[in-house]
């Protein structure tokens, strides 16, 4: 079957899958950014309980595989009385996994804000919360933004695993089409290209734009 005929027949299904992938990506990214901030700040906290919780979370999720975490959250968590539908379990797992890596980025970026900035904020007698929000975090954000670009690509790739708990994303549709037609090169090849387009022509340019905007705000252009 020529490729255009393949696309004519299955294009809409692949597109539908891509939309689900995009949804998973956005929701997982929100989860990842939130927990990364919490755990990253938590690891720098003076309170040992907060710090300990952050460290356990980070090491647990960085030390095991996303697939293990996904299966555990989807199949084992219900035994503890927490039952999630597959869609939620999907983006939550991906978000928590990438969030653990993001937490290290947050922590590293905050620590690389020059000491003088902390002291200057201290000299203005800002409250710790205000100092973090108004002085340190904006600068840390500029430092870590390029690394987040790479991490979000990892997150996009990570969402492909939710197909294994039957979320009907791009990967899932490719698998289904392959199973019913045996047109493996067309099915998987198209999916690869779509992922590539999403990563290279949507996520990366978006992050670059964000970096530029951030640099402008800090007067670095």
């Amino acid at each position: 079957m020529p490729i255009w005929e393949f696309l004519e027949t299955y294009g809409w299904r692949i597109l539908g899958g891509a939309v689900v992938t995009a949804e998973q990506f956005i929701l997982a990214a929100l989860v990842a950014i939130t927990v990364a901030l919490l755990a990253g700040l938590g690891k720098l906290s003076g309170n040992w309980l907060i710090r300990g919780t952050a460290v356990v979370y980070i090491e647990l999720f960085r030390g095991t595989s996303l697939l293990v975490q996904l299966y555990w959250i989807f199949f084992v968590l219900p035994l503890f009385g927490i039952t999630l539908d597959k869609f939620t379990a999907g983006f939550l797992s991906v978000g928590l996994n990438i969030g653990a890596y993001g937490a290290e980025l947050v922590r590293g970026a905050i620590r690389s804000v020059p000491k003088g900035q902390w002291e200057a904020a201290y000299a203005l007698s800002m409250s710790p919360a205000k100092r973090m929000r108004r002085i340190i975090l904006p600068q840390a954000l500029a430092i870590m933004l390029p690394s987040w670009g790479n991490l979000l690509i990892e997150l996009l790739k990570g969402t492909a695993l939710v197909s294994l708990i039957s979320v009907a994303d791009l990967m899932f549709e490719a698998k289904q089409i392959n199973a019913s037609t045996f047109l493996s090169a067309e099915a998987f090849g198209t999916a690869l290209v779509v992922y590539y387009i999403l990563a290279r022509f949507l996520v990366t340019p978006f992050m670059r734009g964000l970096e530029r905007a951030m640099a402008r705000r800090l007067g670095r252009t």
């Binding site: 095991t64 293990v68 199949f75 690509i153 695993l161 197909s163 294994l164 990967m171 392959n178 493996s184």
Partner: protein
Amino acid sequence: MRFDWIWEFTAEILPRLLAATLNTLIAAGVGYAIAVVLGLVLALAQRTPWTPLTKVVREFVEFIRSTPLVLQIFFVFYVGPQFGIRLSPWTAGMIAIGLHYSAYLSEVYRAGIEAVPRGQWESCRALNLSTRDTYLRIIIPQALPPSVAGMGNYLIGIFKDTPMLSVIGVAELMHTANAIGSEHYRFLEPYTLVGVIFLAISLPAAGFVRIFEGWVRRKLGL
């Protein structure tokens, strides 16, 4: 169902999971060996003066890095038979994971090589060293220490990505846990144990990578 950890069941399945751990380690090792060598080829190919080659390789590396490994595993496994080439799950899995990580390692090497100061290249030229000696004796030894951390992290990364091989039936840890789960209708113990085994290996490994990095640095007098 509710939470009830059964220790007898744990003891019963542990040997089977540990045996599968060996397969996981073998898969990670073989995949990594492919990635280490192929990554160097991809990195050096991008340094040749022939622009079409460097552009194609650059784009190839970008492509591999921005598409999901699990999809690449499916692709390698299923596309072969369509054209009459049958690959075993192991072969297909090793090709896919080795190729995937070679793209990442090529970036590590590239960064390492680019971090070597320009003056080192000029010294080699002034001493009339051949291109081969320049790379083998001067540049690569200096590019190595800053690469060790990245290389080590990707070794751990490849290890943590081996569960994806279960999707085409490679009998590693995840695949075995799935099998146990569906045989006994119990997922709590097998999945939790898989997590524990991964933690027990990757956490010490991360520490070991840090120690090794320091050792390489000292060894080369840097």
